[in-house]
Symmetry: C2
Subunit: 86 residues, 2 copies
């Protein structure tokens, strides 16, 4: 599954739109965020996306998980959000 | 429902323990977080709490939502996490 990568500079409404499109097509989505600012934007995007897909009868929930990723050869802990209909 | 309030200084593992206790007793819980640092700690706590309750057969999911709250007479937008078994 290709995951959306969200940063502290990401626009939550734009991410929410992308998320809703992926969800409508594939039924599930993933967001990856590194750092507090990125996690915050990801969460806002998920809250907004809930409103985008609710009229389609989809009640979105998310599962947060830790993932180890490598950025410029350095190990970092990212948060992966698995986003699915309930 | 009484909600846990999480700050940027909260210890995710401690919050996860409190969360797991509330979940086992009431079946659901809420966390409130204001600001990116607090949201980040809340998400870490939820990811950790998933591991605490998984052996009880509980697959935790969360629903993020915006809430308007008043801090020192000033309107702020907080994130409320509704945490429930799937």
């Amino acid at each position: 599954m290709e995951g959306l990568k969200v940063s502290a500079q990401s626009n939550p409404k734009s991410v929410a739109g992308a998320l809703a499109a992926i969800l409508r097509e594939k039924g599930h989505a993933e967001i990856q965020a590194v750092g507090a600012g990125a996690v915050n934007q990801a969460i806002k995007a998920i809250a907004i996306a809930r409103g985008f897909v609710a009229p389609n009868g989809i009640n979105l929930v998310t599962i947060p998980a830790f993932v180890e990723i490598s950025i410029d050869g350095e190990e970092r802990t990212a948060i992966k959000f698995i986003i699915e209909p309930r």
